[in-house]
Amino acid sequence: MPKAVPATTLPSPKENHLLAALSDEAYRRLLPSLEGVALPLGMVLYESGGTQGYVYFPTDSIVSLLYVLADGASAEIAVTGSEGLVGIALFMGGETTPSRAVVQSAGHAYRLRASVCKAQFDANPELQHLLLRFTQALITQMTQTAVCNRHHSIDQQLCRWLLLSLDRLKGDHLSMTQELIANMLGVRREGVTEAASRLQAAGLIEYRRGDIHVTDRKRLEARVCECYAVVKREYDRLLPAPRAAHIAAVG
């Protein structure tokens, strides 16, 4: 289970865009139930087929949703960071979750107990609308990922994956092993190694001992398939802007 951490070392809950988009009243109602937790790399928040005790609102972490087939093969179907939440089965009424949620980039999140989440979802139309909008954005990401996995090269998929991850982090470094990336993309590790080497040789990334530094984001964007832009456009359209932009827009 994720460890609770002292409030002083935690980012504000409003680093999560969904929480930040709530009205003061709705936010204040949730606040006492929000528990800040640290999410280390590789932690499993829930298994496919399991029941969830909590929903998670990432602040500076990224969580990957993997679909696991009966024969054990798995592939990433979506990533979620500070723009969203992990564990929609809870309020959508699914008894168990079909995917496995794994922390893909270490950081923090605020979690909300299942019973509280359900009660708030039913009682608070504002929260309900926000979470349902997020669900539609997530569906778009899932369908686009499905197409990308089917039709695009590992190089393009890696570019998409790097850009989606970078958008959810501050800075241009990712802590990530090739083994984890292979698992996310559902390809052999050698395939990832080769694709990463090509991006490195082209001067787009530097890869060293589990650290990926994106050195030329512009060219990464030029190389990626359309899937990245499709997902980004839908997320921008459907979801609240990040907090800073939100405040700027309001003020």
Partner: protein
Amino acid sequence: MAAILNSLLAALPRKSYRRLVSGLAPVTLTFGDILYHPGDTIRDVFFPVESLVSLLTPVDGHLALEVGMVGREGMVGVPLALGIGVSSVRALVQGAGPALKMSADRFRTELHAIPALQAELNRYVHTLMAQISQTAACNRFHVVEARLARWLLMTRDRVRSGEFRMTHEFLSHMLGVRRVGVTEAATALQRRHLIEYSRGNIRILDHAGLEAASCDCYTVVRDMHDGAVYSRIPAPHSPISRPSSIPAPHS
């Protein structure tokens, strides 16, 4: 009261259903009709009765890929249930037959007035997302022949007939493979006397045999409706335990 032939509607409390009836118009969906393109405003939602609608995501330079399938278990126009008025996929009629149609305006009104409708739709959306994920992973890992068998069985269940029209070109969209791949797979199933295929007409000859030829994904998706499915997926050992053994995607 006559039997309600769409199971999503049938699951509603009788009182809620009665309220909806006057807004539901019987229509016949025609093979090949496109109900929405991505980006289209959703003007009507559809509850298939004995028709089948395929959800496709188009991608530049490739065939559009089927990401989900909606029959009498569901509704076409899911974004509207999530508060979004625009379709993110192409909805293509792939099995002609009756459906019930409701205008978007009326649907929004009813959604607001009947909490049970929203709850039932949320449960359905969650199942559809599981289907989308399963299809994505299946497309990634399983051979064309097994996927074709799955697809034929899923279609049969929704149109409630073992015989339907289907061209190779259509099937190549559905499965995300080239026509020649579809031809090979269909020929293989025909040689095993599981199906008969001539001039765009497919007839299932051996249902049990076809189930045996399909990957597990067919039964997993079929059982999603009773909620029992997820308990059958074996719990994996750890999130990062099987990178090198993951097979490359088939094509």
